[in-house]
């Protein structure tokens, strides 16, 4: 890999004769969303680190059960749930509110209105989440997967989320440009879907519990759609925006992106029931879930093709750009994880993988290798434009990339091999259960090791970020001029 490229202070093409109004408008947009985007990014990184700590505890406890086993607060069930909520609602939502809304603001071509609303809502979101995760650890966990936050914290989350959702729609309403770029569809759809999902799930499971198994159908309709209709569209929106933007080349086929968007909207919705294959629900529900999960191959191939064709021929640039290194890693992972997901939904495969670590590996493959890596890329692109500063250290970015990439690859491979073995052995009644537990131990230990890699990556990311945010040195080191000129254009390789 080429060593640090030559300094990027001098921009290649002469300062183009852009009239001041349009230039000012773009910088105004970035300025208007700067405070909220930075606030969300900071809280996102805080939750990322907190979630990583919970993850390490839970992963280590998986093969050393007596570790921190003497108090109810740190029992495995609560640590895992705290990790899940810290990551999904803490890191995931905050970084979406940062990167996603920044992209929305930019594409709406108009400075955002009432930025303050975002800040207030963001503050409530983080307070609610802290209260919620504290509640989980204290023992008020609801033991409903993806909805573990106790009832006293969820209204706070729902309201502050609705504020942000409404803000997004208002921003879209007052957009200037006539065109609606594909990222905007995805962001708008996600901003609309998540609150509806969240409110219905809360009402039908926690507040006015439905009768019997309908709770589980609702639970998994919600939980899978959090991934499919909230994290995935936001990550795809970021990829659809950053890949063409960084490479300076329009998306391969805009028509494909329309097909991809609507196919995802229709099929992903139904796929959630594949978490209950073999479970106590009518067989037609399961079959509908399986069909929808397999049909998900269509939007995945379409998006994969679209992104791939947009990158073809510029692989060196992709490798040289920190943003695209992460984003393209994420885009490739999306195709891979979705194809594995569709395969997992088929009954004969599901019979083996259903209750095993294979599913855990798949979940991390999707939520980390795809969503989180794209969001890392988004931050690497957004921050210089918000702060008018460059990232202080390239080696830290590379450390972050390799820490995360190796970590997630090791984790996914280890859990999915271990999970497959676990599944096959579990379906063979001769093998006593304790023996299966023994056989999965080495793979769980490998997962803990991969967790260390990820931690290194996250620390490198946080150090680099806060160094950029606070250290005055970074500004001096980067005497690059203001945002608009110092878009560190690479020599026209």
């Amino acid at each position: 890999m080429s060593n640090a490229p030559q300094s990027n202070s001098q921009s290649v093409s002469p300062y183009s004769s852009q009239n001041a109004a349009v230039r000012a408008e773009l910088s105004e947009i970035d300025a208007s969303i700067r405070s909220s985007a930075i606030f969300f990014t900071i809280s996102a990184i805080f939750w990322l680190l907190a979630g990583t700590v919970f993850a390490l505890i839970a992963a280590y406890k998986a093969h050393e059960p007596s570790f921190m086993g003497d108090s109810a607060l740190t029992t495995f069930g609560r640590m895992r749930s705290a990790h899940l909520n810290a990551m999904a609602l803490g890191w995931g939502n905050n970084i979406i509110f940062a990167v996603g809304l920044w992209i929305m603001a930019r594409l709406c071509r108009s400075p955002i209105r009432h930025g303050g609303v975002l800040l207030i809502a963001g503050a409530f979101w983080n307070i609610g989440l802290t209260l919620g995760i504290g509640g989980i650890i204290a023992g008020d966990i609801t033991s409903v997967e993806w909805l573990e936050i106790p009832h006293y914290a969820t209204p706070l989350l729902a309201i502050s989320y609705a504020l942000i959702g409404v803000w997004g729609i208002v921003a879209f309403k007052f957009r200037k440009g006539e065109h609606v770029y594909v990222s905007q569809w995805y962001i708008l759809a996600a901003l609309f879907w998540f609150p509806w999902l969240y409110v219905i799930a809360q009402v039908m499971i926690i507040w006015f519990p439905a009768r019997g198994v309908v709770q589980s159908v609702t639970n998994w309709w919600f939980a899978h759609n959090v991934l499919g209709l909230w994290l995935t569209p936001m990550a795809l929106a970021t990829a659809y925006y950053l890949i063409p933007k960084v490479l300076g080349r329009p998306i391969y086929s805009y028509y494909l992106s329309v097909l991809g968007f609507w196919a995802l909207a229709i099929f992903y919705n139904w796929a959630g029931v594949h978490h209950l294959i073999g479970g106590p629900i009518p067989v037609w529900l399961i079959s509908a879930g399986i069909v929808a999960s397999v049909m998900m191959v269509i939007p995945v191939i379409v998006v994969g093709l679209n992104h791939h064709m947009s990158v073809v021929g510029l692989h060196k640039e992709v490798w040289r750009s920190p943003t695209l290194r992460f984003v393209v890693f994420g885009a490739i992972s999306y195709t891979l994880v979705s194809l594995i997901g569709s395969a997992m939904a088929v009954r004969s495969v599901n019979e083996i993988t259903h209750f095993t670590h294979f599913t855990v590996g798949h979940a991390h493959h999707g939520v980390y290798a795809f969503f989180t890596m794209i969001m890392f890329g988004g931050v690497y692109y957004m921050m210089p434009r918000l702060l008018n500063r460059e990232w202080p250290s390239a080696p830290l970015i590379k450390l972050h990339f390799w820490g995360s990439a190796i970590g997630i690859t090791v984790m996914v491979v280890a859990l999915q091999i271990g999970g497959w073995i676990q599944g096959v052995e579990m379906n063979n009644a001769e093998i006593p259960f304790l023996e299966i537990v023994q056989n999965t131990m080495p793979w769980l230990q490998a997962r803990t090791v991969s967790g260390l890699f990820l931690t290194v990556g996250h620390i490198a990311f946080a150090v680099n970020f806060f160094w950029m945010l606070f250290a005055a040195g970074a500004v001096r080191a980067k005497q690059g001029p203001t945002l608009l000129d110092s878009t560190s254009k690479e020599g026209a390789a």
Binding site: S81, G139, V273, R347, H357, F433
Partner: protein
Amino acid sequence: MKNLPLLFCGIFFALAFSFTGLILSSNIQLGSLTQTTETEDENGNPLEGEPLFPMQSVGLAQQGKQVYIEMGCIYCHTQQVRRAGFGADIDRNWGPRQSVARDYIMQDRVLLGTMRTGPDLMHVGGRPLNADWHHLHLYNPQITSKGSNMPPFAFLYETRKIDGEPSADALQFPPNSEYGPEGGYEVVPTRRAEALVEYLLSLKLNYSLPEAQIVE
């Protein structure tokens, strides 16, 4: 698409489509299931005089379920038995038959679970494991199942000095086991431990339902 209304309608219908198709329809089909007898008469009503299943869990077992929820047991244990021929749940005597929707209608929180790091517990009460075994297992799983990766729940138990006679419900540790208390002390389950074990023992799938007969 260029304008908001069209985009919005599409987005709304996409989710409405799956909400009605998955949630509403399962609520229509399963939302009004009632208890019934093991076999129904020809027009589908429960037979008089026969016990109605599934039974409502009450008393200590119900409180035990709250402990089960608070400890997050569902993150390693499931409560669903897959049908014969799809996984080896019945062969592993995790239950005499497949668990069906009606088995869960009396539960205010359904705890199906999705991970089997530990065995399925739907029929754990029907297995030859008595309360003492469960208490020892919960206190420290290494006692009964060496090498298990289940965390110890010793905080549900209280180690106290024996004053005179050891109390009746003190845990019976296997002879000179390294996990037992030192001399002069005994380990007694707290109320939450007793409730949890009562709940585990109440988890039984020993009844048939019209749509799911126990076949042996």
